[in-house]
Protein backbone atom coordinates (compact mmCIF):
# COMPACT_ATOMS: atom_id res chain seq x y z
CA UNK A 1 0.00 0.00 0.00
CA UNK A 2 1.32 3.30 -0.99
CA UNK A 3 0.94 5.50 1.90
CA UNK A 4 2.58 8.13 3.79
CA UNK A 5 4.68 7.09 6.68
CA UNK A 6 2.67 7.18 9.81
CA UNK A 7 2.87 10.51 11.46
CA UNK A 8 2.49 9.67 15.06
CA UNK A 9 3.13 12.65 17.15
CA UNK A 10 4.97 12.26 20.36
CA UNK A 11 2.87 13.54 23.24
CA UNK A 12 3.67 17.13 23.91
CA UNK A 13 5.84 17.62 26.93
CA UNK A 14 4.04 19.47 29.68
CA UNK A 15 5.17 23.03 30.13
CA UNK A 16 7.60 23.57 32.95
CA UNK A 17 5.98 24.65 36.21
CA UNK A 18 5.67 28.38 36.53
CA UNK A 19 6.67 28.27 40.18
CA UNK A 20 9.60 26.42 41.71
CA UNK A 21 8.50 23.00 42.90
CA UNK A 22 10.59 23.03 46.05
CA UNK A 23 8.85 26.23 47.13
CA UNK A 24 5.46 24.63 46.48
CA UNK A 25 6.43 21.64 48.63
CA UNK A 26 7.76 23.86 51.40
CA UNK A 27 4.74 26.14 51.42
CA UNK A 28 2.33 23.22 51.19
CA UNK A 29 4.03 21.50 54.10
CA UNK A 30 4.30 24.51 56.40
CA UNK A 31 0.83 25.94 55.69
CA UNK A 32 -1.77 23.28 54.90
CA UNK A 33 -3.47 24.48 51.72
CA UNK A 34 -0.92 27.26 51.23
CA UNK A 35 0.38 25.77 48.00
CA UNK A 36 -3.13 25.57 46.56
CA UNK A 37 -3.76 29.19 47.47
CA UNK A 38 -0.50 30.18 45.77
CA UNK A 39 -1.33 28.11 42.69
CA UNK A 40 -4.67 29.86 42.24
CA UNK A 41 -6.99 27.26 43.79
CA UNK A 42 -8.46 29.36 46.60
CA UNK A 43 -11.48 27.17 47.37
CA UNK A 44 -9.43 24.04 47.83
CA UNK A 45 -6.71 25.94 49.64
CA UNK A 46 -9.14 27.47 52.12
CA UNK A 47 -10.79 24.10 52.73
CA UNK A 48 -7.44 22.52 53.56
CA UNK A 49 -6.37 25.56 55.56
CA UNK A 50 -9.43 25.15 57.77
CA UNK A 51 -9.83 21.37 57.92
CA UNK A 52 -6.28 20.16 58.52
CA UNK A 53 -5.38 22.50 61.41
CA UNK A 54 -8.88 21.82 62.79
CA UNK A 55 -8.21 18.07 62.75
CA UNK A 56 -4.85 18.71 64.40
CA UNK A 57 -6.47 20.88 67.08
CA UNK A 58 -9.15 18.24 67.72
CA UNK A 59 -6.37 15.68 68.13
CA UNK A 60 -4.68 17.84 70.74
CA UNK A 61 -8.00 18.52 72.49
CA UNK A 62 -8.58 14.76 72.65
CA UNK A 63 -5.26 14.45 74.51
CA UNK A 64 -3.46 12.74 71.68
CA UNK A 65 0.30 12.57 71.70
CA UNK A 66 2.83 14.16 69.39
CA UNK A 67 5.22 11.25 69.15
CA UNK A 68 8.97 11.81 69.47
CA UNK A 69 11.12 10.72 66.56
CA UNK A 70 12.86 7.70 68.02
CA UNK A 71 14.19 5.03 65.67
CA UNK A 72 14.33 2.54 68.53
CA UNK A 73 10.53 2.51 68.30
CA UNK A 74 9.84 2.30 64.56
CA UNK A 75 6.06 2.67 64.79
CA UNK A 76 6.37 5.71 67.04
CA UNK A 77 8.94 7.14 64.61
CA UNK A 78 6.49 6.70 61.72
CA UNK A 79 3.79 8.39 63.78
CA UNK A 80 6.23 11.23 64.48
CA UNK A 81 6.85 11.68 60.75
CA UNK A 82 3.09 11.82 60.18
CA UNK A 83 2.70 14.35 63.00
CA UNK A 84 5.44 16.58 61.57
CA UNK A 85 3.87 16.41 58.10
CA UNK A 86 1.14 18.81 59.19
CA UNK A 87 3.71 21.62 59.21
CA UNK A 88 3.42 24.82 61.25
CA UNK A 89 0.62 23.62 63.55
CA UNK A 90 3.00 20.93 64.78
CA UNK A 91 5.75 23.40 65.62
CA UNK A 92 3.28 25.81 67.26
CA UNK A 93 1.90 22.99 69.40
CA UNK A 94 5.42 21.92 70.37
CA UNK A 95 6.37 25.51 71.22
CA UNK A 96 3.28 25.79 73.42
CA UNK A 97 4.17 22.55 75.18
CA UNK A 98 1.03 20.71 74.12
CA UNK A 99 0.84 17.24 72.65
CA UNK A 100 2.18 15.39 75.68
CA UNK A 101 -0.76 13.00 75.42
CA UNK A 102 -2.51 11.17 78.25
CA UNK A 103 -2.72 7.47 77.57
CA UNK A 104 -5.39 6.99 80.24
CA UNK A 105 -7.78 9.42 78.56
CA UNK A 106 -10.73 7.72 76.86
CA UNK A 107 -10.07 9.81 73.77
CA UNK A 108 -6.30 9.21 73.60
CA UNK A 109 -6.39 6.89 70.59
CA UNK A 110 -8.87 9.11 68.80
CA UNK A 111 -6.57 12.05 69.45
CA UNK A 112 -3.66 10.15 67.93
CA UNK A 113 -5.79 9.20 64.93
CA UNK A 114 -6.69 12.85 64.33
CA UNK A 115 -3.09 14.06 64.74
CA UNK A 116 -1.59 11.41 62.48
CA UNK A 117 -4.33 11.67 59.87
CA UNK A 118 -3.98 15.44 59.66
CA UNK A 119 -0.31 15.02 58.77
CA UNK A 120 -0.90 12.21 56.28
CA UNK A 121 -3.70 14.12 54.59
CA UNK A 122 -1.41 17.14 54.31
CA UNK A 123 1.12 14.92 52.54
CA UNK A 124 -1.60 14.02 50.03
CA UNK A 125 -2.47 17.71 49.68
CA UNK A 126 1.18 18.44 48.83
CA UNK A 127 1.11 15.72 46.16
CA UNK A 128 -2.05 17.29 44.74
CA UNK A 129 -0.31 20.67 44.63
CA UNK A 130 2.58 18.98 42.79
CA UNK A 131 0.17 17.69 40.13
CA UNK A 132 -1.45 21.11 39.80
CA UNK A 133 1.93 22.79 39.42
CA UNK A 134 2.86 20.36 36.63
CA UNK A 135 -0.43 21.01 34.84
CA UNK A 136 -1.76 17.50 35.35
CA UNK A 137 -4.90 18.72 37.10
Amino acid sequence: MAGRPSQKRAPAAPPPPSKPLWLIYLLGWLIPGGAHLWLGRPTKGLAFLVMLPLMFAIGLAFEGRLFPFNLAEPLAALAAVADIAVGLPYFIAKALGSGAGRALAATFEYGNAFLISAGLLNAMVILDAHDIALGRK
Binding site: M51, T107, Y110, F114, K137
Partner: protein
Amino acid sequence: MGTPSHLLLMSLFAACVAIVGGVLMHDTLRQQARTAAEIFGGLMASALVLGWILYVFPL
Protein backbone atom coordinates in the same frame (compact mmCIF):
# COMPACT_ATOMS: atom_id res chain seq x y z
CA MET B 1 -18.15 15.97 81.10
CA GLY B 2 -18.83 12.27 80.63
CA THR B 3 -17.01 9.94 78.32
CA PRO B 4 -17.85 10.92 74.76
CA SER B 5 -19.61 8.43 72.56
CA HIS B 6 -17.26 6.36 70.43
CA LEU B 7 -19.77 6.47 67.59
CA LEU B 8 -19.80 10.26 67.75
CA LEU B 9 -16.00 10.47 67.75
CA MET B 10 -15.78 8.00 64.90
CA SER B 11 -18.36 10.02 62.94
CA LEU B 12 -16.41 13.22 63.54
CA PHE B 13 -13.21 11.60 62.33
CA ALA B 14 -14.93 10.10 59.27
CA ALA B 15 -16.51 13.46 58.45
CA CYS B 16 -13.18 15.31 58.62
CA VAL B 17 -11.38 12.74 56.46
CA ALA B 18 -14.31 12.66 54.02
CA ILE B 19 -14.37 16.43 53.56
CA VAL B 20 -10.63 16.62 52.91
CA GLY B 21 -10.78 13.58 50.61
CA GLY B 22 -13.69 14.95 48.63
CA VAL B 23 -12.09 18.36 48.18
CA LEU B 24 -8.80 16.74 47.26
CA MET B 25 -10.19 14.51 44.53
CA HIS B 26 -12.52 16.82 42.63
CA ASP B 27 -12.88 20.43 41.57
CA THR B 28 -16.63 20.99 41.52
CA LEU B 29 -18.69 21.26 44.67
CA ARG B 30 -21.17 18.66 43.52
CA GLN B 31 -18.50 16.04 42.85
CA GLN B 32 -16.71 16.92 46.06
CA ALA B 33 -19.89 16.49 48.09
CA ARG B 34 -20.65 13.18 46.41
CA THR B 35 -17.17 11.79 47.00
CA ALA B 36 -17.17 13.05 50.59
CA ALA B 37 -20.48 11.30 51.21
CA GLU B 38 -19.09 8.09 49.71
CA ILE B 39 -15.95 8.24 51.84
CA PHE B 40 -17.97 9.01 54.95
CA GLY B 41 -20.37 6.15 54.28
CA GLY B 42 -17.53 3.77 53.48
CA LEU B 43 -15.62 4.61 56.65
CA MET B 44 -18.69 4.32 58.86
CA ALA B 45 -19.94 1.11 57.27
CA SER B 46 -16.55 -0.59 57.35
CA ALA B 47 -16.01 0.44 60.99
CA LEU B 48 -19.41 -0.93 62.01
CA VAL B 49 -18.90 -4.18 60.08
CA LEU B 50 -15.41 -4.66 61.50
CA GLY B 51 -16.77 -3.86 64.95
CA TRP B 52 -19.39 -6.60 64.64
CA ILE B 53 -16.81 -9.09 63.35
CA LEU B 54 -14.44 -8.30 66.21
CA TYR B 55 -17.34 -8.75 68.64
CA VAL B 56 -17.09 -12.48 67.93
CA PHE B 57 -13.45 -12.50 69.06
CA PRO B 58 -13.34 -10.91 72.51
CA LEU B 59 -9.86 -10.11 73.77
